[in-house]
């Protein structure tokens, strides 16, 4: 066997592999067009995935309502990039936009993480203006306080307490914008007091001391484990039953291109 025959063999193998690849993709595309794919295990199929949970249920940290997390404990962890049944329970007070938007973005972040601050300042506001307010995206904040940050859990408690009195957006904005100040002093209470009235602060303090908020944060952290989130910020983007993990900080232009591509899907 000479060199030419080896080369010819390699070319034939490569062409065969390319043919198989294209054939597989073509078949897959055809299956989708003719609806064959619907016969396959689908995101909504309860036998293949954890049971869907009623989305956008009212936020109640102390409530023992069934959640996706209860199912997660029993079920093996899914692959990160796996189709999920629906967006799990969402606290509408920590979300912006319409629940019926075609795309849901759950941002797992830590109030003391500098990258989360960058994402919030450079991307979040534009997403709110251009996608959430136009009904294209449902933007959800999820707490993922990292143990390495001394005050992030306290900050999450205050933000969740503010959500209870309908002041989440303003407190979240303040916590990120004044991150450098309170992360050094640890004075989250004093920072939050800048934007809330004394009456509101009294309610917030009572909620923080009440200890009921931890449950809500724990649920978000467990959900992060379900999605295999290990870093902050991580945005879990759900569209047409598929979840796409986007880790780290992106520029708005790239995020915008990705969202437009998702929205253009038929």
């Amino acid at each position: 066997m000479n060199r030419r025959s080896i080369r010819a063999g390699a070319i034939i193998c490569a062409l065969l592999a390319a043919g198989l690849f294209l054939g597989r993709e073509l078949r897959h595309g055809l299956a989708l067009k003719t609806g064959v794919a619907s016969a396959l295990p689908s995101p909504g199929d309860p036998s293949s995935t954890p049971a869907p949970v009623e989305s956008a249920q009212p936020y109640s940290p102390s409530a023992k309502s069934p959640s996706v997390l209860a199912t997660v404990e029993a079920a093996p962890l899914p692959k990160l990039a796996q189709a999920t049944p629906a967006v799990p329970s969402i606290d509408p007070r920590k979300a912006l936009g319409s629940k019926s938007a075609p795309i849901t973005i759950e941002v797992f972040s830590d109030y003391q993480c500098p990258a989360c601050r960058t994402l919030y300042v450079s991307v979040w506001r534009q997403l709110v203006d251009n996608y959430a307010n136009t009904g294209k995206v449902y933007l959800v904040h999820r707490d993922f306080p990292l143990p390495v940050h001394a005050h992030s859990r306290v900050a999450a408690h205050y933000a969740n307490a503010a959500a209870h009195i309908g002041k989440f957006e303003i407190v979240e904005q303040l916590l990120f914008e004044k991150q450098a100040t309170w992360e050094q002093s640890g004075d989250v209470d004093g920072t939050v007091a800048r934007v809330l009235t004394p009456a509101e602060m009294t309610k917030v303090r009572a909620l923080v001391k009440g200890g009921t908020l931890e449950e809500g944060i724990k649920k978000d952290v467990e959900l992060a484990q379900f999605y295999r989130v290990t870093q902050t910020p991580t945005s879990i983007i759900t569209c047409k039953g598929q979840t796409y993990p986007v880790v780290g900080v992106q520029s708005y232009a790239v995020f915008h291109a990705f969202l437009d591509q998702l929205l253009s899907q038929k």
């Binding site: 060199r3 592999a17 990039a81 189709a83 899907q265």
Partner: protein, 167 residues
């Protein structure tokens, strides 16, 4: 009479190395285009836009360059992988692959040193950039550089096909 080149350790390394590296590059490109972890697979346009978000998280390039790179890199990896598997003009393509891997290693090391908590994006989404990524890319760079060096050495060595036939 024409005869095939005798088997040597270097030729064996070249053959196995380029087949492995070529296959790996083809898979890397395929994983970025198809997202094998997802079923049903999203359209290629969505996969490429998702890949763009991964490139962007390295915080190296302006958005327009990120989008262009995301659109071209997976195809370039598949083409380069096929060329390595075929073995045509191996010196050129192995050198090209070495330069590409060197670029990857530099970027990965920089991001790791900066403490960026991002996904590598090497074989689709879901792989965090850790020390393992750095070591793996370093090992792949060493392999690619080895293939390129061996390809040049092989080209210098006298070959039975070019030698005059013995009478």
């Amino acid at each position: 009479m024409m005869q095939s080149a005798p088997f040597t350790l270097r030729r064996g390394f070249l053959l196995l190395g380029r087949l492995f590296l070529g296959g790996l590059l083809i898979y890397a490109g395929y994983a970025k285009l198809i997202l094998p972890g997802m079923y049903p697979h999203p359209p290629v346009g969505v996969a490429l836009a998702l890949f763009a978000t991964q490139i962007d998280s390295y915080q190296l390039l302006p958005p327009w360059a990120v989008i262009q790179l995301a659109r071209s890199l997976p195809f370039a990896e598949i083409a380069l992988g096929l060329l390595l598997v075929i073995g045509w003009q191996l010196r050129i393509w192995a050198s090209f692959a070495t330069a590409l891997l060197l670029g990857f290693v530099v970027i990965v090391v920089r991001s790791y040193a900066k403490g960026l908590e991002i996904n590598c994006g090497c074989f689709g989404p879901g792989e965090a950039l850790t020390i393992k990524t750095v070591l793996r890319d370093g090992a792949l760079l060493a392999l690619t550089a080895g293939i390129a060096v061996c390809a040049f050495l092989e080209a210098r060595a006298s070959h039975p096909w070019s030698a005059p036939e013995k009478r």
